[in-house]
Amino acid sequence: MKRTNRVVAVVFALLSIGVLYVTTTFRATLIIDAYLGAGFFPRAIAVLMLVFAVVLWFMEPRVRPETLTANDSESDGEKYSLLTDMRAPLITTILLIVYASALPYLGFPFATSLSFIALLALLQSRVWWHYLFAIAFSVVLFYVFYDLFRVRLPRGVLF
């Protein structure tokens, strides 16, 4: 846990330093704010963040048995190998980014069916009707939103 905390501390410290740097590039606009200005709030947040990041770095994680619930073991960073478990989420993320980018071209029903099937394959589903469900779900969802809620989900060339 200690190592995880230190990584977290470094990430937040870098973030706050980045923010502090960007706030120095803030320029005045046509509208004058004679008092705090646009940079005050982000700067204050970044400074506080830096402080807490430093505190976290030096903090000794205490294991408190009475607060260990089922959830703790799951999210405790060092109990399992991070990388193997993160493979499926990582591939899914890439899949979703491709999906979102292709959405305006393929249209919602088609793109969603394809991606849902891909996701099921990634999760190694061996049940045939899951795949049928994926297609039906995508199509039904499209019509529910498009016609009922009047949300203009993207339509592609074919559908």
């Binding site: 046509l30 899949l95 491709v98 009047r150 203009r152 060339v157």
Partner: protein, 317 residues
Amino acid sequence: MKRLVSVLAGVFLVTALLHAGGAAEDEVEYPTDDISLIVPFAAGGGTDAVGRALANAVENYLEVPVTVVNRTGGSGAVGMTEGATARTDGYTITMITREIVSLPLMGLADITADDFELVRLVNMDPALVAVRPDSPYETIHDLLDDARDNPGDISFASTAAPNFYILTIENDQGVSFNHIAYDGAAEAIPSVIGGHTDFTIANPGEMIGQIEGGELRPIAVMAEERLEGLPDVPTFMEEGLDLVSGTWRGIAVPQGTPVEVREVLEEAFANAVDDPSFIDFMENAQLGIHNLGADEFRTFIDNDIEVIRSIVDEMDF
């Protein structure tokens, strides 16, 4: 597994490319499909209300569904940019507002009115100055005189920053108020009623309920003529101040839209604005109809650009 993913990615790409290649179609019959009307402000606001009422009315004349799509952000910049850069097939039309003039002049948007082909101006609302009923300001001159004596002390509940109504007054009269920037009239009005700020300037439709209920007292309107709904409120002109200001909303399509498509739209919206249901709605909501065709709309915008440019130049020192 990785192969499947890469194959799928390939399918995505190929279809995308095919699609991009086939985009240039000849437009003969229009409209045959649903039309989206981009409203660059959130559902529930004044622009949204005009947009929805107009969409409702124009459907009868275009004979296809017209769906309102709210694309909010950047004081209208996001929605109007999307509208200006949409496909020029006439299936994406945009409700443009005064921000299309002010944002580019302030460097807050990359598009201008020139990125659109104008279809019709439908609405204009004058700015109305209002105070609390027990306020010492009986006329606009009371307010201006007090501002001259106490520069920067009288607090103005601003519905948006920057507020061109107040800047018009300040520049012309050489006075200054303490601007408190609120996020829309819904926040600014209670601050005046609650006695936290001295006055506000908003559109009649935004304040009529409070005015009729005796929570706010209008002192002057920045229009050429008195308002029908508020015949006792003098105009700035009558008070000897040559100041007219307000907000407006119109319909536009992206630059490059074929003339045949534009003609269909121009006719349909001309009919929609004259539609009794639309007129009823606008009257109920105290929204002013200002009905101008494409060419007059262009002149109207050119005039407004000059007005706002002079204000922006004044701010820049």
